[in-house]
């Protein structure tokens, strides 16, 4: 999907870069913040997307509440976000983390502007309030979840802000559409949010994580997969991905299917991590 340079709205030949920063404690944004500043100073359009699952847990615990995780029959573990948890989610992500990241980027010279997925209906899709869970070996339907999957991105809002020189800093929640037409703030995975944004903008998606990329064998540093080109390669990648990396690979697939130019999964904890990723340090998926 890359190869031939196209002309973008800014008159340049490079697509916007969508950078996903981790919520995991292992992912230090300091290097990434300076790197975003370099890219922007060099005229590149950048959108930053961040998660913050551990911060949600920390704040729940500070408030004396217990984070609730459920296992689905398929073996996926995920947060169950009831109404109270959603409130803490809003406090942790668009509240604390987004504000701090915007301030950090502004101190690096970036005209950063924070938005959650509810703002302007930026990240929208159907709300899912029921989940299938496995509890004590029993399959159950559990209701009251606040989650959803993005099926629409207001790319016009982002393009407008980018054209005006702002660097959007995005975070969950997304805008969940109920069957009765009402909307609610709901949880969504930040990797997939970044993928949806990269797809909508035709951008390059850089997913920064706490390992160097996707490995054929995670215990063998020599088996880092450098480039994934075409369906056969991608099947190998899907087979190789384990644990949390499965989600990164699924996000990569969604980004490319949505129109992203390329996806990079790479290490956050190196010097200039975004430029390193774009230069091929981690796993590149086309």
């Amino acid at each position: 999907m890359t190869g031939t340079p196209d002309l973008y709205t800014d008159g340049g030949t490079e697509p916007p870069v969508v950078v996903k920063l981790g919520g995991a404690r292992a992912v230090d944004p300091a290097g990434a913040v300076g790197d975003v500043a370099h890219l922007v100073a060099n005229g590149r359009e950048v959108v930053v997307v961040h998660g913050g699952s551990t911060e949600v847990d920390d704040q729940l615990e500070a408030l004396g509440r217990e984070p609730e995780y459920v296992e689905t029959p398929g073996g996926v573990t995920g947060r169950f976000t009831d109404e109270d948890a959603m409130e803490v989610f809003e406090m942790a992500l668009p509240g604390k983390l987004n504000t701090e990241l915007v301030v950090g980027l502004r101190n690096a010279g970036v005209d950063a502007l924070g938005l959650s997925g509810v703002d302007g209906g930026l990240l929208a899709g159907p709300r899912k309030s029921a989940v299938r869970v496995l509890e004590d070996g029993k399959r159950k339907i559990k209701r009251g979840d606040h989650s959803g999957r993005i099926d629409a991105v207001d790319d016009g809002l982002l393009s407008g802000l980018l054209a005006d020189g702002y660097t959007p800093v995005l975070s969950p929640p997304m805008l969940g559409e109920e069957s009765d037409g009402d909307v609610t703030a709901v949880n969504t995975d930040a990797d997939r949010a970044a993928a949806a944004v990269a797809g909508a903008l035709g951008g390059e998606l850089v997913v920064l994580t706490d390992v160097a990329g996707v490995y054929e064998d995670p215990d063998d540093a020599d088996t880092l997969i450098g480039a994934v080109d075409g369906p056969a390669d991608f099947e190998d990648l899907e087979a190789a991905a384990e644990g949390f990396m499965t989600r990164k690979v699924m996000a990569a697939k969604e980004a490319l299917e949505g129109g992203a130019a390329a996806v990079y999964v790479s290490d956050a904890n190196v010097r200039d991590p975004i430029v390193a990723a774009l230069d091929g340090a981690g796993t590149r998926i086309d």
Partner: protein
């Protein structure tokens, strides 16, 4: 042991005693997945298909 009617094929579905609301049981006759929406007396509905999804 109690029984309830499968909303898909009409067969009797045998239910264990410590049935919980929200639990999913399979119809032994047609294989439909049924959600327990009430327990006394037990009422079954077709269990919704739900994608595996997750958030932060």
């Amino acid at each position: 042991m109690t029984e309830a009617e499968c909303v898909e094929c009409g067969s009797a579905v045998t239910l264990h005693d410590d049935l919980e609301i929200g639990e999913i049981v399979d119809c032994g006759t047609c294989g439909a997945e049924l959600e327990v929406v009430d327990v006394s007396p037990p009422v079954l509905e077709r269990a919704p298909e739900l994608e595996e999804d997750w958030g932060e």
